[in-house]
Symmetry: D2
Subunit: 338 residues, 4 copies
């Protein structure tokens, strides 16, 4: 059994992580840390857990009793936490925030199993990818690796309200969001950093560099990911289209084969021969991808559940890989479908 | 032209009132008061008004230039405002809050046109009914007047999220409310006061008194309105059922005739021969009522748009009556239907 | 391993059953029968199964290779099927339709585990309860057994659109149902039969009989279940309130204790000390129940997922009991929560 | 008073047209034709009209008593109808279907008032634009006229379910569509024809031709409108983004000024300085447009209500122009906002 500690356990992702881990056959939750909820039952804070667990929040952090710690803090707090607390070297860390996703002066591996499975298996510290970033990368990885990203990429991605977190706000007010639709952070979403990092890492040396439009001095030249995020009026899921213009008209079957081969061994990401709709992945850890070709343009549809494959589901998948467990352990979730 | 001033114009009901009044053929908005938004365009605060009006919020309150003032404050603030400000005696007041709905040491008329049209026409000060209260009363008035409310009344009413106001909260968070359903304040909703007041006012002398379950010392004896409010996952509207048990089995047609006659002259409340669905009234000032009979039990369905017939639409209807205008002026609203 | 055959496997409940059974640790699906889809992959028909199973529909029905058959037909077809086909006596049958729910000239046990666990464990043929019926009974069982149902019972129950089945219709059209609300079959829903059967079976001999308002000659006298079903604008779940008027004012704690004791050993039905909201049970096999007391009136809130505890989840629970498995096997579902 | 006849009055757009026209100050509805509903009250078929009109459907078509006829048929039926029926030359025709939108052997004017107001004022026969086509054109017209459409245009447009019409189908089933999201007809939507026709008509001679990707022999070269339509889980409205890559980096203010000037005199289409959300236009006849600039890329957001500005609202606007009425007559609709 993998002994697990959870920091930020009373938050949004903390709750979803507990919902997963209580049914994981190889996991024991040793502590669910929350200063403000210490002593409260987990099911009093997180919906849907009554009758499933008698787990109680604790203000303690007994790192010596666990094999892995999940950081379910808000963005920017992981780094701060590590400066103030000492976690034993043998305890693995899985960070759900964006603090260590960009390579730098740290040893965190970017946890996208579709391309980094071997590094993940060996790593001690893992940075779990962002939700938009995961979905968009799943759509672009095969073309990136094949060196076909040679022109600007039009990315449109619609997210559910759970992507905005737990705190009530004007744009998550039901009266506003119900039957509404809007854009935000167009061309400037922070996930562009990790997307560009991966695309450049994966591409053949001769393929052109992908320019990060968030970087200073950007002037809209070079290959760019033109990313427009939308707020949808649904709770869970991210639905993306990515349009890539190739240098020449491809054969549709070749592109489909490229995708099928790329995801052949993936535990949760699959190529679908049919057009997609979001509820096929909601409440599962899956990524589904579909491709259409028009002249020189390849139109990819990709989708995930933002809280699962886009957050804690992928974190558990990474934990499974890090501990040599079956990659699907604890993640055979019933699709809600309706 | 009726010259109108609006207090609390930057709030929820203030916005909906402006949306109505800018198209009212007999109204001129003289001022839309908001301390915090003074100088801002109204369409910058209230959705859907761009291109319709260049009205600007003001911090002033020139009462001498208006014929009527609408109070769009939160509950409890109308009374406080009147203590601190002096409004000329010739300026009429329409208060949308609950401060003066219950009879007492004041001259406010309870503005339910279906029963108080004559008093409204003559009054200087008007208390606009609550949203649940309006919908439930429309369902019960004919039976009350006929003295048929002789046993407990089971009332179930589902409200949209706009009933909860503008301020974001846990139960109006889209991620929570979307596809969700819940109860609140069961048997203890504050609108019971005005409902009971009306039912007792309207009933024949010999019919039993309706007991207000919110009053101290209540022990569930006597005729009571057993009111269960629900939070629905829609934005606008209130849908009610009221089950009344008669002393004897009635003839269904007699009950239907009672309702049809009662609402024959009503400008916005109609009896429908067919079963109802909420979107028939959404975005209109209508009340629709339908009746079924089973043995001794009469099951009434009643529904309104909570922001219109349940708030500002009814307020404008009252204004029309108070100023001798066509009762429907400015209220011939296109039903949204979908 | 329990070897399972599914009839009507391409239908709505058939799909949800497959979604459950592919993850059930003690089950092997031997055949998923569908004449019209024979040869098609299950994931081409049922959303959310891509990557989870390569199961293919078959037109065959090898009853000699299975231990149990699930009937996922529409109502009325189970009886017809049995007249035309011979199922070996040693093969158990779980019927999800209403054909055998009412006692009569057959040996089907009514499969509500909260009251019939022993009979279920021994039975060969099982009639799985209806969705509304399950939810309403969970709310009323403790009072019924205690003999406290002595006056009319006001039941209001809101169902999601999946309760209306797969076939598109006017009242399941998104343009109509979105943000809409309506009633149907008020006082005449067919589930009243099984509800009344249970309440009368469970009550002490001296307690008054519950009259089935659907029976001929009903005149609204006696204890009745006054059931108003509503169509909610959500996809999954049933949310009920039941108001029971007692002969005397009870002590609230006594009523709460009655409920807690009644459901103490239940695998999926729990008493909640806090008010309920529907998404606590959506995508799970749980029933949650809560009680408030006002004077002589007991207000119960009960809720389930209509497709799981209200249909196939309860069917699998019953199968577990019939085969001596852990009652929760295959039913430790992650709550969707959002 | 303009005397109006409506063909196809029992259909979807027929109903919305009646909802508008009964409140139009200069219109008298002479006949609302429907073979199958002849004799039925209009409010028995179309939601939201009870109490507003006693209009009855008729099987007759007294063309000699009207000034204008609205064709509310499905696509393709207008042409067939005209072959079988004779409409007096002095009776104007407004066709809501796509039959005459593309120029050819007919005298129908394409009724987009933002560019064709003079032709509309003089025309006898009018083809009302499509919903997607209207929204996308409003986003692109200023750039097209300025000759700035010199590279491929990425268009993403999300439509509500009412765009799919009245007939229930798999993709309008509430259980499927609720909280779901999907694409359809990507790069092949039929509205591309009218969009390309307008863009080429409006552009300066020297600007490159826009290629219609639906035309035979298309090979993805030339300026194209790369249009991806999405099904949103809301009932009303279309929300679009259009990304146009210019030859050089523009000054943002210049682009904004281009848009403001272009729409300065428009009755219903406005430039918004702030980011848009769909409910600002729902239940109104407005088009709202907003622009952002990133390097050489111009990102336009445009939106309308698909049933109003995208169908019958625009048809009434065109009627107003054709008869010399105030362009906004009957179209000062209260925004629903929530």
């Amino acid at each position: 059994m993998v002994r697990v500690g959870i920091l930020g356990a009373a938050g949004y992702t903390g709750g979803e992580l507990i919902r997963l881990l209580i049914n994981h056959p190889e996991v024991e939750i040793v502590f669910a840390n929350s200063e403000s909820n210490a002593g409260n039952k987990v099911y009093d804070v997180h919906e849907g857990l009554m009758g499933d667990t008698e787990l109680v929040f604790t203000s303690e952090m007994p790192f010596d009793q666990v094999d892995v710690v999940f950081f379910c803090f808000g963005h920017g707090k992981s780094e701060a936490f590590l400066k103030e607390h000492s976690i034993p070297a043998n305890v693995k860390i899985i960070d759900l925030a964006q603090d260590f996703r960009i390579k730098g002066d740290h040893d965190y591996v970017y946890g996208l199993p579709e391309i980094h499975k071997e590094e993940i298996a060996k790593c001690q510290h893992l940075a779990n990818p962002g939700c938009f970033a995961t979905c968009i990368q799943l759509g672009l990885l095969p073309l990136a690796k094949a060196g076909l990203l040679t022109k600007d990429i039009a990315v449109n991605a619609i997210t559910g309200s759970t992507g905005a977190g737990q705190k009530p706000s004007a744009t998550t007010h039901f009266s506003w969001r119900d039957n509404n639709f809007s854009v935000y952070k167009l061309f400037t979403h922070q996930h562009l950093h990790e997307i560009c990092q991966t695309l450049n890492e994966l591409k053949p040396a001769e393929a052109p560099h992908v320019v990060d439009t968030l970087d200073e001095g950007y002037e809209a030249e070079g290959v760019t990911v033109d990313f427009i995020p939308y707020r949808g009026d649904f709770a869970r899921g991210i639905f993306c289209t990515e349009v890539v213009t190739l240098n020449q008209c491809p054969v549709e079957n070749d592109i489909v084969a490229l995708y099928k081969n790329f995801y052949e061994g993936a535990a949760f990401t699959h190529y679908s021969d049919k057009a997609l709709d979001l509820k096929q992945v909601v409440n599962t850890n899956k990524g589904l991808v579909h491709v259409d070709v028009f002249g020189r343009k390849v139109v990819i549809t990709s989708m995930i559940d933002n809280l699962l494959k886009g957050a804690v589901g992928q974190a558990v998948q990474n934990m499974n890989i890090m501990f040599g467990l079956d990659e699907r352990a604890g993640l055979n979730l019933k699709a809600s479908a309706f």
